[in-house]
Symmetry: C2
Subunit: 358 residues, 2 copies
Amino acid sequence: MDILRVDLGSRSYPILIGQGLLGERSAFEQHLQANDVLVVSNTVVAPLYLDSLEASLRPRRVVATILPDGESHKTLPTVARILDVLVANRFGRDCAVVALGGGVVGDMAGFAAASYQRGVAFAQVPTTLLAQVDSSVGGKTGVNHPGGKNLIGAFHQPAVVVADTRTLTTLPARELRAGLAEVIKYGLICDAPFFAWLEAHIDSLLAAEPMALAHVIRRSCEIKAQIVGRDEREHGERALLNLGHTFGHAVEAATGYTQWLHGEAIGAGLVMAAAMSSECGHLTPDELERITRLVARAGLPTRIDKVTPDAALTLMRMDKKVQAGRIRLVLLRGIGDAFVTADYAEPALRHTLESYLG
Amino acid sequence: MDILRVDLGSRSYPILIGQGLLGERSAFEQHLQANDVLVVSNTVVAPLYLDSLEASLRPRRVVATILPDGESHKTLPTVARILDVLVANRFGRDCAVVALGGGVVGDMAGFAAASYQRGVAFAQVPTTLLAQVDSSVGGKTGVNHPGGKNLIGAFHQPAVVVADTRTLTTLPARELRAGLAEVIKYGLICDAPFFAWLEAHIDSLLAAEPMALAHVIRRSCEIKAQIVGRDEREHGERALLNLGHTFGHAVEAATGYTQWLHGEAIGAGLVMAAAMSSECGHLTPDELERITRLVARAGLPTRIDKVTPDAALTLMRMDKKVQAGRIRLVLLRGIGDAFVTADYAEPALRHTLESYLG
């Protein structure tokens, strides 16, 4: 078992990574004090892992609530349902909420934990690659609004993240590919050697080779934990983690959160961020080509049909990084060197969108 | 103008207290940086003060949303309406939400500010005595659930509290009396001389004499600011501020949040907390009599009809201070000396409820 630490003072917590952790009582013993636990899962994951997790959580009182699957259900009414279950079971402020599933389950369970009785304990048991490398770490929780992605939510750090790599063996190939988008993102932001490693090992990853997956989960969590530890509330550096997301979120919202998985939209978003960086003269054509090729080899879209540039621009203006009406973008000065800027020409942005959308 | 400071490190903020502050641009200039401001008010307060506040907030872009009046509307769907307005106006993370009204408006506006884009700036402009002495200070925000009071919410500190004492001149007498319940509470918790001052000046307060009101607002905010500064998230001492509230919340929930104002329920709750303290041998009959008399002189109920002890007990078990299934109570060792305890005999609690309810 690997143990990484997210360093946030009194809100610090460990990320446990290993095969079969979900079934081990010791993974939860030390970090989850609560006697009453609500496990939040969905209709796809619960049949596979809920029994095993419940056994690991006993002798605590364990109640489970099973949500419908998919990003289109990541809404305030679904969170209200979780809150109803907590109230109906008379859980007190000393209870805990445990998310068993992917990013959607984690985001909603986390927001419910943040809001119930003004905040109760929370643990993440991510079962997708995307959740293990990204969404389960860092404390961002929330739901979508018809007007935009993740517009409603809270920062609420978990008490522990238990990433059981064995769950990836049951992960559909499409979900595995979606997770690779966030992995590629970490290389692009700050780790050129890791990006090169991904270029060399992408086929092993697509084949779900355990050693390769364990490496990318560990390295991804390391990078994310470092950045979050330095900037928990995204006043600066943490915004780099949104590379590709301003584009990707617009794609998701424009297609009603049903056509593309989050990671797929981020795949195309990374290519658009790279293309925009190239438009602005920050990135060479060769670098853009390397990035586009790796995204494509990961089985992710590199352009998006049926979304107009105008629709995307309207949605991008709802991005949480907008300041004084100006869309701030995460761009690349090179592979492994991301930065945030509002200093770009509008026509370059429009041209980028026209080249990759529609 | 009086300025008090709530000391919470990077989340510290001032409480400004004075006549006519709501109409003064300077009250907001320094503490509210946002260019886009949503004012949240209700149908009773907005006609009186919204124009004046909007003028003080300009040249910022100001949008207003007017909620129905009353505790029965303090629900998650009403907060969702505030969030819809923020999204519809394309407000960014650099916007601010300003609450203009009493505790209900402040609690909902604050929870919306806490949840929008995972947290935007927030200011309180309380227009009731209760909000000026209690609910606008300390960062507790949230909504009720059919299963209990304030069960859903967040800690979200304001950037500034602007308490315009002139708004109390338009406050209905019933609302003024309700606010006095929280004022009496501060004396009971930790300031016996203040309690004696209230006994001597209750008639001036009921007559809404400005000097008397200014004194109680300042002293109440001082006490609350000190306690919140030492224990922001209610891990210990802050629970004392809930004196009378475990009883009072049960009364409110049992009567559907429509029959009694919050402060009225707290008035009866203070008497029940004192009676329970007396049952347990902590308080003399004379002290109980002084407390009961002051609550009655303030025009507040000292017992509650049509709520059964069983209904109250069931609701008290949903209180946020419940630990390991045990209702923790704030009791009194004397006037000015409150403490939290789970060490009491169940029959004493039942006897207290039977004496004051039903």
